[in-house]
Each structure stands twice: as structure tokens, then as C-alpha cells.
């Protein structure tokens, strides 16, 4: 969300919630995520004066760095920011510390405890600690165990653990991981991050639905004909081939990001704005969701893989030609599917989800298509009457649009669709925080609203289990259809909707 101008009266007003004195411990501090996302997000919070004076970051990794080396590496990674805000960086950098730690080594964890106590005294952080596991998913369980065994998670009010995605690779591994982390601390201490939930526009789904009286009465099967949820990327697999080959689009995007958008769009209204109330409703609706055809899942899902495309001047490689990708790979880079939700609100309403790499546009949106008017009184200028559509644009051009019919100018009584348009940029101007800024702040505030709870994660994995099993056991039944790079996916995905007399929205 780019802003052309900044409102000078807005400066310094984002202080509604202040983070308590705190030590943020980042495991995997030498990794990519730390200098690309976490430290920039923390520096942004610092510049917004949302971090208390009694604050520190303890970076932990196996590399034998010193505090000074950690600071200078972070400064190097954030060179542009540092140059722009030299003084602020000097103050912020004084909060950065480093301890070489291998969580698999008991003596390292004991030393970590000692260092944290020393930092508590030095920075008066009052024993409040947030442990951020930015490590390989294989170490989530053992990392939590090491922290618990060292007594670092004993105080449920003052310590919490943030775990990056992916949380498990299927239903049973997620269950197992949940059991392990829950044996280390209370559920209230576990913050499973899904950075999509840090997006302003994803959170806006809740506000739009539950702060306005006009939507809720029509937000159900009586008025909504179908819902499409799209997350399209223009980029290919880039540097992530190693990870992507083992996950694919289903695990990488659908199980978490798209499912979270689905849950927020379809959940019941919580009794009050309380983390547990919201997460209860999300879990409930995911538990009621199912593939449109669980017995024959290949009939309600299409997988695809991008092949060569682009123009002669700018050719694009196919997925199998990307560095690090198996030339015979059957990993899907595109997936489309049809779901139902078996509850009173949504019975019979189809939900179509799709996501893919190397599509023509980068965009995420939720489109609710309403039922047509029962009687067609007017001729439509476009030939057929258009159904009303509410489009929630998650990114880019964040906002919402509502498509409805009006009288086309002229002597006749012909209808034509128009678009009522709300744009975050036009209304607010201010750029919204990067997702990690919001989520890191929330984790340190101990607010789990935007983090996924164990039952949500499990319900999400369970929803896709028939597909995952099919891919594992009989992949030929769910083949990977090639699609040309920079097109809207394989033709089979269009057929999925054509069977219902529908088409994907072309944004």
C-alpha cells in the first residue's frame, strides 16, 4: 500500500497499545528471516516508540558471533534504513545482543538461561520473554522441549513461543507437534504465526463483517451463490526450490493463508472481541468445512505446474527448469479446489479456492457473488444480468468493491453493472505496517487473536487430508496439469467451475 503523502497529524498517534518490558529471543538469528523481516519490523516498532525502554533482542544461532558482530551484520542488512535514521539505529542497536546457542546442546540452553537473567538485570525486562523459533521446522518440537527443560517456559504469563509456518506437514504430524509443544507450556503461550493474518486487509474482513449491520443479514446461503478466494503470485519458485519441492502450493499456501481467509469470511460472529472467542468461531467453521467430494477428491481439485512462458524478449523458465528443482518434479505450483461448509449458514454454497505461481497478476482477493434477482425486469446492457459481487481486495490496491446494477443512461430501461470502490490508499493515505510489525507486536503483547490455535491448525490439515493422501498414494488420479507461465492456470481449473455453470473472476 503505497502512500503519496503523509498526514503530519498522524505522526506519533499509533500508541494505543504499549508493549511491556520485554526480551525477544530469536533462534535462527543468523538466518534470512531475521535480517529480512524480524529486525526491520522491530526497528519500525522502535521508531514508532512502541517498544519500551526496557527492551532487548537476544539473537541466538550456532555461529560464534559477538554482540558487536550481530549488530554490525544487522546494520549491514538494513543499510538503507540505517542511513536514513542513523540516530535511531544507534539507540536501537544498543538493544541488540547475541549468544551462540545450539538448542540441541543442554549446556548451551543453560548458558542461555544465565544470559537471559543477566539481560533482565541489565535491561530491566522484568522476566518477560518472547522466544521466536525462526529455525528449521524439524526443530520446532525439540526447540520447545529444550526451552521447557531449562525452565524458560515455566511462567505462563511472562514467556511465550512464536512458531513460524509450516506447522506440520499433514494432519498427523501437526497433531504430534501440537502434543509436543503443549507438553512444554500452556496453549496460551504458543503463537503459531501466519503472516497473512498480519495484513490489514485480512483483519478488515472481520471489521467489515461485524462492525456493519448491513452485511450480516445477507452473509449466508440465502443470498450468497458462491465464494471465490484467490491468491495469485507472479513470481516463480525463486530461491526456495529446496523447501518448495517438499511442500507444493497446497501446503505452502492453501492449508494456511487461503484457509485463514476462508475462516474469517465464513465464521460466525463472536460474542465479543476476544482472542478465544474469535479463534473458537474460526475453529468451528473449519471443522464444518469439507472437500466438495471427499470420496472422489480428484473430482473437486485440480493441480497444475507452470511451464515455460513469457515473451521472446523475456522468456520465463518452466518449474522443472528452475535451479534446484527435480526435472521430473510432480510438485504442484497451482491448485484449485471446491469446498463446502456443512452448517446452517453455508449449506450448499460452493467455495472455490485457487492459488498459483507465475500467474499474470499478483493479487489476493475474496469475491462473494450474490444470487441473482428473482425476476428480471430489465434488459441488461451486457446481454445477461450481472450478479452482485462484493470483492474484498487483500493485495494489491487494498480495499473493497461492490458491483451492482444501475440504469444505463438513455431513454430505455436497461441495466448495467457499476463498481462502488473503497481504497485504503484513497481513504487513509498512510501505508499500513508490514505484517511482521503487527504480529511481532501482538506476540510481545501476548495477544493471540491473529495467531492460529492448535485446533484451527489441525482442522485445516484435516480438511485437506483426502487430497494429501491421494497425492501420496495415487498421484496419477490427481495429475499435475502444465500451464504456461503468466496464464491463469490449467484449463482443467476452468472446467471445475464450468461444471457448475460458473467462471473464475478475471481480476
Amino acid at each position: 500500500m503505497a502512500a503519496t503523502q503523509t498526514n503530519p497529524l498522524r505522526v506519533g498517534l499509533r500508541q494505543e497499545r504499549v508493549i511491556s518490558p520485554q526480551c525477544l529471543v530469536i533462534f535462527g538469528a543468523s538466518g534470512d528471516l531475521t535480517h529480512r523481516k524480524l529486525i526491520p519490523a522491530l526497528f519500525e516498532l522502535f521508531r514508532q516508540r512502541r517498544l519500551p525502554t526496557e527492551f532487548c533482542v537476544l539473537g541466538c544461532a550456532r555461529r560464534p558471533w559477538s554482540d558487536e558482530e550481530f549488530r554490525s551484520r544487522m546494520a549491514e542488512a538494513l543499510a538503507d534504513e540505517v542511513k536514513q535514521h542513523e540516530n535511531s539505529w544507534q539507540q536501537f542497536a544498543a538493544c541488540l545482543f547475541y549468544e551462540p546457542v545450539d538448542l540441541q546442546q543442554d549446556q548451551d540452553v543453560v548458558r542461555l538461561g544465565t544470559r537471559l537473567e543477566a539481560l533482565d538485570r541489565l535491561r530491566a525486562t522484568r522476566g518477560n520473554r518472547t522466544f521466536y523459533l525462526s529455525v528449521s521446522p524439524a526443530f520446532y518440537g525439540s526447540g520447545c522441549r529444550a526451552l521447557a527443560n531449562a525452565g524458560l517456559l515455566k511462567d505462563a504469563n511472562r514467556s511465550r513461543v512464536v512458531i513460524e509456518k509450516p506447522f506440520g506437514t499433514d494432519y498427523s504430524s501437526a497433531q504430534l507437534l501440537n502434543r509436543v509443544v503443549q507438553s512444554c507450556g500452556k496453549e496460551s503461550q504458543i503463537f503459531r504465526i501466519d503472516h497473512y493474518l498480519g495484513k490489514e486487509t485480512v483483519q478488515n474482513i472481520l471489521v467489515l463483517r461485524f462492525a456493519n449491520a448491513i452485511f450480516e443479514p445477507i452473509w449466508n446461503r440465502n443470498y450468497i451463490a458462491n465464494v471465490q478466494i484467490t491468491a495469485a503470485e507472479t513470481v516463480g519458485v525463486e530461491e526456495r526450490a529446496g523447501y518448495y519441492e517438499t511442500s507444493g502450493a497446497l501446503r505452502d499456501m492453501v492449508q494456511n493463508h487461503l484457509t485463514q481467509m476462508l475462516a474469517l469470511t465464513t465464521m460466525e460472529a463472536p460474542g465479543h472481541f476476544d482472542p478465544e472467542a474469535i479463534r473458537n468461531e474460526k475453529a468451528k467453521v473449519l471443522q464444518a468445512a469439507r472437500l466438495a467430494n471427499e470420496d472422489e477428491p480428484w473430482k473437486c481439485c485440480v493441480r497444475g505446474q507452470y511451464s515455460r512462458g513469457g515473451s521472446q524478449a523475456k522468456p520465463l523458465s518452466g518449474y522443472r527448469e528452475e535451479p534446484g528443482v527435480n526435472p521430473n518434479s510432480t510438485t504442484e505450483t497451482y491448485v484449485a479446489m471446491k469446498l463446502f461448509i456443512d452448517n446452517w449458514r453455508w449449506q450448499g454454497v460452493p467455495f472455490y479456492l485457487r492459488t498459483g505461481k507465475r500467474l499474470p497478476k499478483r493479487l489476493s482477493e475474496v469475491v462473494l457473488t450474490f444470487r441473482k434477482a428473482p425476476v428480471q425486469l430489465f434488459d441488461a446492457a451486457g446481454g445477461t444480468p450481472t450478479a452482485n459481487q462484493l470483492v474484498l481486495r487483500i493485495q494489491p490496491d487494498e480495499g473493497a468493491g461492490f458491483v451492482f446494477d444501475v440504469k444505463a443512461p438513455g431513454s430505455g430501461m436497461r441495466s448495467r453493472p457499476v463498481d462502488m470502490h473503497f481504497s485504503y490508499e484513497e481513504s487513509f493515505g498512510e501505508p499500513s505496517d508490514e505484517g511482521y510489525v503487527r504480529l511481532l507486536a501482538d506476540a510481545m503483547l501476548g495477544d493471540p487473536t491473529l495467531f492460529t490455535r492448535s485446533d484451527e491448525v489441525e482442522a485445516a490439515w484435516r480438511l485437506y487430508t483426502p487430497l494429501l493422501e491421494l497425492i501420496e498414494d495415487a498421484p496419477w488420479q490427481l495429475p499435475v496439469h502444465p500451464y504456461e507461465a503468466r496464464t491463469w492456470g490449467p484449463g482443467a481449473a476452468d472446467n471445475l467451475l464450468a461444471e457448475d455453470g460458473l467462471m473464475w473472476r478475471r481480476p
Binding site: 502512500a3 503519496t4 503523502q5 503523509t6 498526514n7 503530519p8 497529524l9 498522524r10 505522526v11 506519533g12 498517534l13 500508541q15 504499549v18 508493549i19 511491556s20 518490558p21 516508540r49 512502541r50 517498544l51 519500551p52 525502554t53 526496557e54 533482565d120 538485570r121 530491566a124 522484568r126 522476566g127 525452565g151 515455566k154 511462567d155 505462563a156 504469563n157 511472562r158 490508499e425 484513497e426 481513504s427 487513509f428 493515505g429 498512510e430
Partner: protein, 433 residues
């Protein structure tokens, strides 16, 4: 949120024995406790209004130091009965002073320092020291000490951190004596907050002695003589970290005004402001001046002059000023006191704000912000009907002093908010001599 009483009845000790007693307490009775590694909170808690209302029999005791609804009702009733202007806020020092001229000799138990608001106790202060001056100026210094630990159901798994409460009570002379022992009572290795919960301009030497840097001072610039409040605020900010509750209460006004100018197409109007009007309750302009100064500072205006505006005899006087925008154009500012039937809790509450922007290519934009509880007829008059109008209602702040303070304690900074620092300095210049 209900205030909590200390669990243990405080022990009264001779003042000279307090430091030793506390040392013994921590090395013997509480030797297994780590002691909350949090902060010390020193509270100047004169509660003159409550003491005077109790003395004159208008409310019953005990003296708690808290602004209850019953206390505020009694204070508002006293305003009328004592012939003070209806705009006099219940917390205005002149009310307590006028009550002080009335006869009465009722007394009540003094429990100041023993009621701890839950919002504050949730932060587990390591030591809470209350300085509680009494109406009897000659009263000797009394000192009370109590330790507390979280109840089993309130504490976390290994949260055995405890804290203690010290109350120093007596006449103003005795307070000086209490001040002498204060340094010894404040743990050197923890941050220290000083909440000056009284009139800003009373006992300036005491304030000076308490607010030694790097202690973090919390004041309320709505309480006290306006000129002295602003001068002291500026002076304190120069010397160390300061938080002003009066400034924090401006948040809803600042947010509402910023919201009007969030749409980028409106933002250019901020460069073309020609007039700013603010209406306040009664004769305490500090809050209004802080708001005006914040706007001027954010928009880069330069103060040219300020002056008193004298109305008809019997009318209250306002403040006028001229600013110069960065493009050299003039901005006129007027702050006017307006009468109200029932005043808000603090002196000088804002009633309304009007900002007029003369836009070169379209009709002028007039922004009117109006307090939820007030009317803005004065600001809505004067030809604004022909302008592009943006009107908003500003919600009343609904948080207690203790909640505001708890918010500060929870995420404290050891420096003054730069926006407050800039606004206070300019507000000081805006108030004519």
C-alpha cells in the same frame, strides 16, 4: 476496576527504622523471593479535595486518595453551594482551597497508599512509596510498611516476586523529613517513577527534589495555575523524562483531527490553514494551548505574537495569537473559555475545535470537532455554512487516572515524548504574560 487493599495491615514504625526494617524483611522473611524486578513508584498523594470534603462532613471516609463517583458528586455539589463558577472542575485546586475556608472537624481513617488500583498492581511494582500530607500542617511524620506477594491464584507458575508498600504521612514539615529518607528507600538498580498526583504548582521545591533525573515524572498540567503549570512542564521536560496526563487525555482529539486529514486528497488543505479556534471549559487554557501548539508544531507554523482577548465586563477572557505558515501566510488563533452547566472532571476540558483552510481552487474547508458532551454553536456560526464542512464528534476519554498511569508503567519510556516536548514549549509561549 476495583482498587485493591494491601493484604497485610501495614506496620507502623518509627521513620528512622524503616530502611533497616525493609532490609531485614527482604533478607529474612522474604529471602526466598526474588523481589519483583520491576520499578519503584513514588506517589505524591495530597488528596486535598477528599480530605476537605471529609473534614466538612460532605462525604464519609476513609481517605483513600481515589476519585470515586461519590467524591465527584459531592465536589460538584460544593461548587454550586460555595458560589464558585459553574465551570469549576471538581479537581480544580480552588475548590479544595475554598472548602478549606469552611468550618468542620470530621475525621476519618487515612488509608492513602494502601489502596492500589488493580491496573497498577498488575505491573507488580517492586516498591510503592506514598507521600501523604495531612491537613494538620504540624503533624509529625508517620511511616507505615507492608509487604505483599501475589495470591496463589493470581501468580504465575514461578512468579514468587514480591513487593512492598511504604507510606510516609504527616504535615508539610514532616514531608520534608520524609523526603530526606526517600533516596535510601528507592532501589538503585530499578527504574523509578514519580507520580505527582496533585496540583502542579504546589510545593515546587518538593517536586524539584522528587523529580530528580533519571526518575520518570508523571504530572497533570490541568491542575494548578495555568502559567505556572506550563512553565513547570517546560522546565521539567528540560531536566528529565516527563509524562503529562493532561496531554494523554488529548489523544482522542488528536486522533479525531488526524482522521479528518487521512484521505490524501484532504492533506493539501493542511498547508492552507488560515484560522484555528478552540473552545475550553472555564479559565484553564492549558489543554487547549497544548492542542493548538501540537497542531502548529506539526504543520510547521511560526508564532508571531500572542495576546489576551478581553470581552465584555463579567465575561471571561480568551487568548489570541498569530502564526505564520511556512509559506509566509498568516494563521489566526483564538482560544475562548465557554460556560458549561456541569464541568468535566479536570479543568480546561475541550469543548470544540474549528480549523478553517482556504483552498485556492475550491471553497474553503471548515473542520469542526465537537466534544461528545458539549455543544459547538459558537464554532458552527460565522458563515461556515458556505464552506465545505467536515464535522466530527470527539468521544470523551473513559479511563481513570490510574489506568492512564498503568499504561505508562507497563511500557515506560525513559524519555519525554518528543511531540509533548515540542507542544509544551510552544504552549508556554502562546500563553501571554
Amino acid at each position: 476496576m476495583a482498587p485493591q487493599l494491601t493484604l497485610q495491615a501495614p506496620l507502623e514504625l518509627p521513620p528512622s527504622e524503616v530502611p533497616d526494617y525493609l532490609n531485614r524483611l527482604w533478607s529474612e522473611s522474604l529471602k526466598d523471593s526474588s523481589g519483583a524486578a520491576t520499578f519503584t513508584l513514588v506517589v505524591w498523594e495530597p488528596s486535598w479535595l477528599q480530605q476537605q470534603l471529609i473534614r466538612t462532613g460532605r462525604i464519609d471516609g476513609p481517605i483513600s486518595g481515589l476519585l470515586s463517583d461519590q467524591l465527584l458528586d459531592a465536589a460538584r455539589q460544593a461548587v454550586g453551594e460555595l458560589g464558585l463558577p459553574a465551570s469549576t472542575a471538581p479537581t480544580a485546586p480552588e475548590l479544595a482551597w475554598t472548602l478549606g475556608q469552611q468550618a468542620g472537624n470530621h475525621s476519618a481513617e487515612d488509608l492513602r497508599g494502601q489502596f492500589v488500583d488493580r491496573a497498577i498492581s498488575a505491573h507488580q511494582p517492586r516498591r510503592l512509596i506514598t507521600l501523604a500530607p495531612t491537613l494538620d500542617a504540624g503533624k509529625n511524620l508517620e511511616s507505615l510498611v507492608a509487604a505483599y506477594c501475589p495470591l496463589p491464584e493470581e501468580r504465575a507458575v514461578n512468579a514468587d516476586a514480591c513487593g512492598d508498600v511504604v507510606v510516609l504521612r504527616g504535615g508539610m514539615g514532616a514531608m520534608q523529613q520524609g523526603l530526606a529518607m526517600l533516596q535510601e528507600l528507592i532501589p538503585a538498580d530499578l527504574p523509578c517513577w514519580v507520580w505527582w498526583n496533585g496540583s502542579m504548582d504546589e510545593s515546587p521545591d518538593l517536586l524539584e527534589a522528587l523529580a530528580v533525573s533519571p526518575r520518570r515524572l508523571v504530572v497533570d498540567s490541568s491542575i494548578g495555575e495555568p502559567k505556572r503549570c506550563l512553565d513547570l512542564l517546560v522546565q521539567r521536560i528540560e531536566q528529565g523524562p516527563v509524562n503529562d496526563l493532561n496531554w494523554l487525555r488529548l489523544r482522542t482529539w488528536r486522533e479525531s483531527l488526524a482522521m479528518v486529514f487521512d484521505p490524501p486528497q484532504r492533506q493539501s488543505a493542511l498547508d492552507q490553514v488560515v484560522q484555528l479556534d478552540i473552545d475550553v471549559e472555564g479559565q484553564h487554557p492549558v489543554k487547549g494551548l497544548l492542542l493548538a501548539a501540537w497542531i502548529a508544531d506539526r504543520l510547521g507554523w511560526h508564532l508571531v505574537s500572542s495576546f489576551w482577548i478581553h470581552g465584555q465586563p463579567g465575561e471571561e477572557r480568551g487568548i489570541g495569537a498569530e502564526f505564520q505558515r511556512s509559506d509566509g501566510q498568516s494563521v489566526q488563533f483564538r482560544l475562548m473559555p465557554v460556560p458549561v452547566g456541569i464541568s468535566k472532571m479536570h479543568p480546561g476540558a475541550l469543548v470544540g475545535l474549528r480549523l478553517i483552510c482556504s483552498q485556492s481552487d475550491r471553497s474553503p474547508l471548515c473542520v469542526i470537532l465537537c466534544s461528545e458532551s458539549g455543544g459547538c454553536m459558537r464554532l458552527e456560526a460565522g458563515g461556515v455554512a458556505s464552506m465545505e464542512l467536515a464535522e466530527e464528534v470527539v468521544p470523551l476519554p473513559n479511563e481513570s487516572e490510574e489506568m492512564e498511569l498503568a499504561r505508562l508503567l507497563g511500557g515506560g519510556h525513559d524519555s519525554t515524548n518528543p511531540l509533548l516536548a515540542a507542544a509544551a514549549a510552544l504552549a508556554g509561549k502562546l500563553l501571554p504574560n
